[in-house]
Each structure stands twice: as structure tokens, then as C-alpha cells.
């Protein structure tokens, strides 16, 4: 277990972060290069004002027509994404590892709060799963890979929860937790999780096209 943990938390962590950062840069640069080659005209009407107007509306709950149309989904989506990011980034155990490895540290959540946030993330994943299976309009645009991606996102939280509470065999779930987190990081640039990278660009483009060309709102 000693060697396995050393390996997953050492060399494998490097691989995961390199894939995440390198892959993300590659995907963004490749996307911009593709736009430049196929639709360079887009750059002529990109507008900072309309880009920010669109992004700000879409990251505010109920600030767009679409967010108001399905309030339950909107609340779940926002709560999910806030917990998904805040919990691992501000987790005391994670910051402790950053501090030990790089001598950098920042504000942390109380463990009890992070525990609740973890349960929220898992519950939201279940909500998304049930929604995918039961809602016809969602089922229609669902690929098998979407279930895999949902599993990839839920896994670090599920294993993290079990490791934190030390249920079942602690070392096994601790190692699985590290692995699950690494799989998720590495999967971000190369799966639909890449909406994390592309959503600001999508909104900037939509906002600019609606604002400058169509003279209308995109929210």
C-alpha cells in the first residue's frame, strides 16, 4: 500500500496535471486556430462588452430566460458546480498536501462543511443520472459516454467520502480516491467535461454575435 500510494500521489499526479494543463492549452489553441482558418470573420465582431454581458448573465442564477424556465435544474446545476469546485480546492487535507509539497497554502473549509458539500455533489450526480434516463429530451441527446463522464465526476467524491469517514478498507479507498481525481483531471480536456474550458468562449461568441450582429440579447 505504501508504494502504491507513493506512486499514485507522486508520478501519477504529475501525469494527471500535465495532461490536464497541457491538454487544456492544446484544446483551446487548436480551437482558436480552427476558427482562424475556417471563420476568421468571427474575430471582426467579437466584443468585450457583449462577451462579458453574456458570461455574467449565464453565471448568475435565474438571470437568463433558460435558467428561469427550469428552476429545479438551475438550482441543482449551480449548487453542483459551486460544490464541485469549492470542496476540493478549499479542502484542508488537499491544501495540507500543497503546503507540504510546494510550501503554498490558502484558506480552507471546515471538514464538516466539506463533508456536506461532498454529499451534495454525489446527490446532484444522481439527479443528473435520473434526469438523463427519464427525461425524453435529455435521453435523445445522451451518448453512452455521458454516463461514463458522470461516473468520472462522481467517483472522486464517492471515494473521498468513504476515505474521509474511513469506512470499509481505508487504504484502498484512499488510493482509489487519488486515482479517481487524477482520471477526472486528465479527462477534462478530452471529453465533454471540456465545457469547463470552452463555455466562456461559447458565451463570448454568442454574446458578441447576438449583441453586435443581431442586436438582441442571448439570455
Amino acid at each position: 500500500m505504501h508504494d502504491v500510494y507513493q506512486f499514485v500521489s507522486g508520478p501519477l499526479a504529475w501525469v494527471a496535471f500535465l495532461l490536464f494543463i497541457g491538454g487544456s492549452l492544446y484544446r483551446i489553441i487548436a480551437m482558436l486556430a480552427e476558427v482562424k482558418e475556417k471563420e476568421p470573420f468571427i474575430f471582426t465582431y467579437m466584443s468585450l462588452k457583449y462577451s462579458l454581458r453574456s458570461i455574467l448573465h449565464w453565471i448568475t442564477p435565474f438571470a437568463t430566460y433558460n435558467w428561469r424556465r427550469n428552476p429545479v435544474l438551475t438550482v441543482v446545476t449551480f449548487v453542483f458546480h459551486i460544490c464541485l469546485f469549492a470542496c476540493p480546492i478549499f479542502l484542508l487535507a488537499h491544501v495540507t498536501l500543497w503546503d507540504e509539497a510546494w510550501d503554498i497554502r490558502w484558506w480552507t473549509l471546515p471538514d464538516a462543511v466539506a463533508d456536506v458539500m461532498t454529499v451534495i455533489v454525489i446527490a446532484c450526480c444522481l439527479f443528473f443520472l435520473i434526469r438523463r434516463v427519464t427525461q425524453r429530451e435529455v435521453k435523445f441527446v445522451t451518448y453512452p459516454s455521458d454516463y461514463v463522464i458522470l461516473g468520472i465526476v462522481a467517483a472522486p467524491f464517492l471515494t473521498g467520502f468513504l476515505a474521509y469517514h474511513q469506512w470499509f478498507t481505508y487504504p484502498v479507498f484512499m488510493i482509489l480516491h487519488v486515482l479517481a481525481g487524477e482520471v477526472m483531471l486528465a479527462a477534462i480536456p478530452f471529453t465533454r467535461l471540456s465545457h469547463m474550458l470552452f463555455s466562456p468562449f461559447t458565451r463570448a461568441y454568442m454574446g458578441s454575435e447576438f449583441g453586435v450582429i443581431r442586436k438582441s440579447k442571448d439570455y
Binding site: H2, D3, Y5, Q6, L92, A93, T96, D99, E100, P110, D111, A163, Y164, H165, Q166, Y170, P171, M174
Partner: protein
């Protein structure tokens, strides 16, 4: 009568003191967490004598180190002090915080020795 009571009370306190002082290292089962205001994890499991027997540690200063101006004093030892006498709750200059000192001293050595607990929950056992 009054004198007898005083002697009994004195003997009782002496016995209590002896029991408490004997209970220091041999019976130590965890790292004393009392200095931490709001500990987030259970106290780290640490059986002093059992640990040193397993790890084959003879010298106190293998763990009870003394640093001066950032340098380890090889022949100095600090087992007569509490870790928190030097290490504060926050880092000060070169000196790591108490939490980081504990983690570094325990986990750091376990990593080097390729033995002993290195995952959070192996020491902070619920």
C-alpha cells in the same frame, strides 16, 4: 485528627502526581492535540515506545531535533521540551507550523524509510 487528614490528602496528591507522571511516554497513545483550537481530525495515533522499538530508533534526537539558524544541531536533543515550545500554530520564517512540523517529522521520515503510515487516515484514525 486534623493532622491525619492532611497526611492522607498529601499522600493522595503524591500518588496522583506519580501516576500522572508515569503516564507520560510509556503510555502515550496519541500526539497531544490540546494546543489546537479547532482540530479538524482525530488526534494522530502514536505509541511512543512501541514506535521506537519497531522503527529501531535509539537516539532521542532522531525526532526531538534542535535547529539553530535553520541548521540541524547534530548532537543536540530536545526531548525535555514540548514541540509547541518552538513551533507555533502558524509558521514563523523558516520554522514550520506545529501541524507541518508533525507531518514533516512523521510522514517525512516514513516516506524516506519506505515504511510507516503516510496517508491521512492512517494516523488520524477515526
Amino acid at each position: 485528627m486534623k493532622k491525619g487528614m492532611t497526611i492522607i490528602a498529601g499522600a493522595f496528591f503524591l500518588a496522583a502526581f506519580m501516576v500522572l507522571s508515569v503516564q507520560s511516554q510509556e503510555d502515550m497513545a496519541e500526539v497531544d492535540p490540546s494546543v489546537f483550537m479547532n482540530p479538524q481530525r482525530p488526534a494522530a495515533v502514536f505509541k511512543h515506545d512501541e514506535h521506537n522499538e519497531t522503527a529501531g530508533i535509539e537516539e532521542c534526537n532522531e525526532c526531538h531535533h534542535v535547529y539553530e539558524d535553520g541548521k540541524l544541531l547534530e548532537y543536540e536533543s530536545s526531548e525535555d521540551m514540548r514541540c509547541g515550545d518552538c513551533h507555533g500554530l502558524e509558521a514563523e520564517g523558516n520554522m514550520p507550523s506545529l501541524v507541518k512540523a508533525f507531518h514533516g517529522n512523521c510522514k517525512g521520515c516514513h516516506e524516506k524509510q519506505k515504511g510507516g503510515p503516510i496517508m491521512c487516515g492512517e494516523c488520524h484514525v477515526r
